[in-house]
């Protein structure tokens, strides 16, 4: 019988081996004894307890750090320059307009995939993040829109969820506004109103109906899905290895 090496035992302790090591240990008393000895020592090694930090610690770090930060992060370079953003926003606006008008716009794809791969740069980060935000928002809107009564929802969870999305939504809206992406601003603005209402919604049928009416009247779910679709396609083009989300929106 070939015994496990010390390295095998270490990997097994950290859960980095497959079933074969576990199977061997079950049958071999010699290796089992070795493993128990190793486990005893490693289990005794506990992390040193870090001195506690106050709840203000993060603010203190920021206070000390801020004077040393350059005005702009190195990242805020060409890919987020207003002109590029404006171009993307224009494309987005055109696609939204085409959909709203009931026409199909054939999306222009990069002609050379190599070029697309090369542009799979950090610029995609914003798109990935925005896509993720829209996914979460869509899920929440669907839950609200399809609920027949407040009993169908865990209102506390939905409120908290809305509150979390609200904070992120503000940041995206401000960013889009700063770079002049008015189409995205408009959708995020509508979304923000609904999220705000939901975050403070009372637990009664009238409030739910009001929210549902608002979502429907603004065509919010549709608008969110259109922007979401556009963002996902952009992500696919710019970050070929990234799966923009588990589910593709259906319009």
């Amino acid at each position: 019988m070939k015994h496990l090496t010390q390295d095998d035992l270490v990997l097994h302790y950290y859960g980095e081996t497959g079933r074969s090591a576990a199977h061997h240990l079950a049958e071999c008393s010699q290796c089992r004894a070795e493993f128990q000895e190793l486990s005893r020592v490693l289990a005794a090694i506990r992390a040193p307890e870090a001195p506690p930090r106050s709840t203000e610690y993060g603010a203190q770090v920021w206070h000390n750090l801020r004077p040393h930060l350059p005005e702009k992060a190195a990242a805020s370079s060409w890919w987020l320059m207003p002109r590029r953003w404006a171009a993307m926003a224009t494309v987005a606006a055109l696609i939204v307009a085409a959909f709203l008008a009931g026409r199909y716009a054939e999306r222009v794809r990069p002609q050379n995939p190599t070029v697309a791969a090369k542009t799979a740069s950090p610029e995609g980060v914003l798109l990935v993040a925005l896509g993720d935000h829209l996914d979460r928002s869509e899920m929440l809107l669907v839950e609200i829109a399809h609920a027949e009564s407040p009993k169908d929802l865990d209102v506390t969870v939905e409120r908290r969820h809305a509150d979390d999305l609200l904070a992120a939504n503000r940041l995206y809206r401000q960013t889009a506004m700063r770079v002049g992406d008015t189409a995205t601003v408009a959708v995020l603005d509508d979304l923000e109103r609904v999220l705000l209402q939901l975050a403070h919604a009372p637990d009664d049928p009238a409030a739910l109906e009001q929210l549902q009416r608002q979502i429907e009247a603004k065509g919010l779910l549709f608008k969110v899905r259109v922007v979401q679709l556009n963002v996902k396609d952009e992500v696919k083009d710019r970050l070929p290895g990234v799966n923009p989300s588990q589910s593709r929106p259906t319009i």
Partner: protein
């Protein structure tokens, strides 16, 4: 929290320096904990926290968003800690008492009070663990902290240290071997 982080990153990249603040506030304590586990020293840990966020801010352009900001900044902090350990290694350090010159835990254990024994043993073990950790090379120490204390996978450690998986494993093996050699005798005699 991840969506908030992503939104803040996007804002910083669009030129809003103040948007970096929530990122710092949310992750400082986590980075401090890691830095302390790596260095065992409060002042060094504080230094690492500052350096980590400064580097993160400056390197935000290389953040591709495929991992969370939290994971990304954790890696930067690990490397800052590694750099600091490297620097410390080349600087003269205060003498560490030789364990051979001191009474081992086995000599101190006999006591009238079992609780006091346990406390003494625990304190003694912590001191020995600290000494053993200090005997590791910076890379071994980083690999060990990330694997043993923080539960990071070998692949994550390799990515953090920018080495191949095999090299990361070897660092862990060497660290475990050294820790065992340093601690096993004391543990055997304490049985």
């Amino acid at each position: 929290m991840e969506s908030l982080d992503a939104a803040a990153v996007a804002q910083v990249r669009a030129g809003d320096r103040e948007a970096f603040r929530p990122l710092v506030e949310r992750h400082s304590a986590m980075i401090f904990g890691l830095a302390f586990r790596m260095t065992g020293n409060e002042a060094d840990a504080e230094e690492i926290v500052q350096e980590t966020f400064l580097k993160a801010y400056r390197a935000l352009g290389s953040f591709d968003g495929r991992s969370s900001f939290s994971t990304w900044v954790y890696r930067i902090a690990s490397n800052c800690a590694l750099d600091l350990l490297d620097r410390r290694k080349t600087q003269p350090q205060p003498a560490i008492p030789d364990p051979e010159d001191e009474e081992g835990p086995e000599e101190r254990l006999p006591s009238e009070q079992p609780n006091a024994e346990r406390l003494l043993y625990s304190a003694e073990m912590q001191a020995r663990i600290k000494e053993a950790m200090e005997s590791l090379t910076p890379v071994e120490r980083t690999a060990f902290v990330l694997r043993h204390f923080d539960g990071r996978s070998v692949e994550e450690i390799a990515a953090t240290l920018k080495v191949r998986t095999g090299a990361a494993k070897q660092s862990i093996f060497r660290a475990v071997q050294k820790m065992r050699e340093a601690l096993a005798p004391a543990m055997r005699s304490a049985r």
